[in-house]
Symmetry: D3
């Protein structure tokens, strides 16, 4: 059941979010247990594990995307944590979010900054 | 009329898009000539010129945002060109866009890849 | 005041959401009482009541749309309930939401699954 | 077949877009002829015809919404024309679109300005 | 440090949201203190302060944009308050939001109405 | 190189879009050849191939999602074709798109109808 892609994805995912597998397994087990496998395999096993971009840049790109769509505040906070775990500085994360004021507008950028503040105050 | 912010912004903008000022001036002169000043001053003079993130990363973040919103194909192509001018490799740009399949869905990522293909074939 | 369209719409709406009229009347009475009439008449009286698609399919399509826009979590939960009342199985609802990972990205699909989990645990 | 709402809506719609009924009838006749009725009745018969906001303000609000979503360039151009017909000045339309740079980002605002330029150059 | 643009923007901002500077300073001081300056300078100093549209219309346009994107409920409530402070009536605000049902769909319009209800009940 | 998931996905994809593999291979070969594999494997091999929803319903759900996001007109046309190939009637497709007027607004629904008209006139 655990494919090679799953193993590779899990390794990548755990490098930035160590307890993600347990957390997602618990959240998804009653509603869509297969979704855990898809999350580990496609985003992490297939995409994040590719060479060409380092994990720090990948997490900043994800923050840029989540601030732009603006409808997934929980996942934004998870990826702000993951960006810190990947070695991004607070400054790099804040700069990424501030830049989104240009492309997604000020309200979305402000929401992103408040999410970052919440994550950083919990650390 | 040309403020210090305008001069600073123009320098940053021209470093990745040398003929942008002339092009935007022409495009905007009959409809909203002040907009040129705002574009140079706020996005470039205030944001892109900040330390904390290099120009290469900033252009990739912009590509991530534009692929996510998916409604500005012309500006996406401009920023793919700018990313190349900032020193990003084709591979870094393609990886950025492919990662958006996870966050913005496959159709938006595919549109981003086709935009990149068009820009790269023109170079 | 209650038009034929209102009566037809109300019948359709009550078939999937029996206490909707009272609930919406209460929610809207101090702010926009006419909005109740528009909701019953246009979405339900004009659209949902059309032949060509059954109520089960219509509710799944609405779930697909609400997971894609991702900015109306309350209405998404209402329509997950309505889909169950229309005769959709848990499996059909979960499959609908999971498919949205392809088109709206994983974070929006995960939010949809968590909404479904909440509705199903309340039933 | 033509209800009172249709007549009221058509009057409002024709006041800003005189040939809209013929144009929409032609565009929709082979695919969804009923859609014409819904467009005239709900947006124009039910909403635009309400007191409380004048037609000029309503058209500017629609431009703000269409620049924000950014995915309906044809309808944006139609509503820029309608705003002019309702008595809005070029300046009011341009200011509306420029303000969207704050909320929807610069690329969406620029696309709106280019749409306005195209409409104004055709007039 | 406080530029002319900042002073002009602050005056405009305070005319509709008197304690905004203190509130934003507090919210942003630990995460992105420079963002306060950008908010005051660009949206208020550069855009809202322009002639061509009055403050009432500008606040209604912002409400239209925020209901359309639908992902910034806090800022929507702030701008509903600001619209009231600018002299908009409850009716004008409600009409603006109801019109968005046509362009952004019923769920987004309903969320806007509930936000307005909350603000109005607090006043 | 062609995994079991690829084979399963290709079979599902070809059942609704027979020449998709060749078309996508050609479109992607110079820019992101691996993307073809991801498209076949994840959306089709992992998701569309799941039991619980038939292909007709899946294609209508995809149309609902693409009309809602509104930024991928080419993929919308591909999926309207695929829906026809899966056995959906013109009426079912048109009803799906019209229902989106309620959730994504009239402009997005109109764009969807015009896309459907184009596809149907080519058949």
């Amino acid at each position: 059941m655990t494919t090679e892609r799953y193993q590779k994805g899990l390794e990548v995912l755990k490098s930035v979010d160590p307890d993600s597998e347990e957390r997602l397994k618990k959240l998804l087990k009653d509603i869509a247990p297969d979704m855990l496998r898809f999350i580990v395999e496609f985003p992490y096993g297939d995409i994040y594990s590719r060479p060409g971009l380092g994990m720090k840049t990948r997490e900043l790109l994800t923050i840029a995307s989540l601030v732009t769509s603006g409808n997934s505040p929980q996942q934004l906070k998870v990826h702000i944590k993951n960006a810190l775990n990947a070695g991004c500085t607070k400054e790099e994360i804040v700069e990424t979010i501030m830049q989104m004021a240009v492309y997604a507008g000020f309200p979305s950028a402000l929401n992103g900054l408040f999410a970052a503040k919440e994550v950083l105050s919990e650390e």
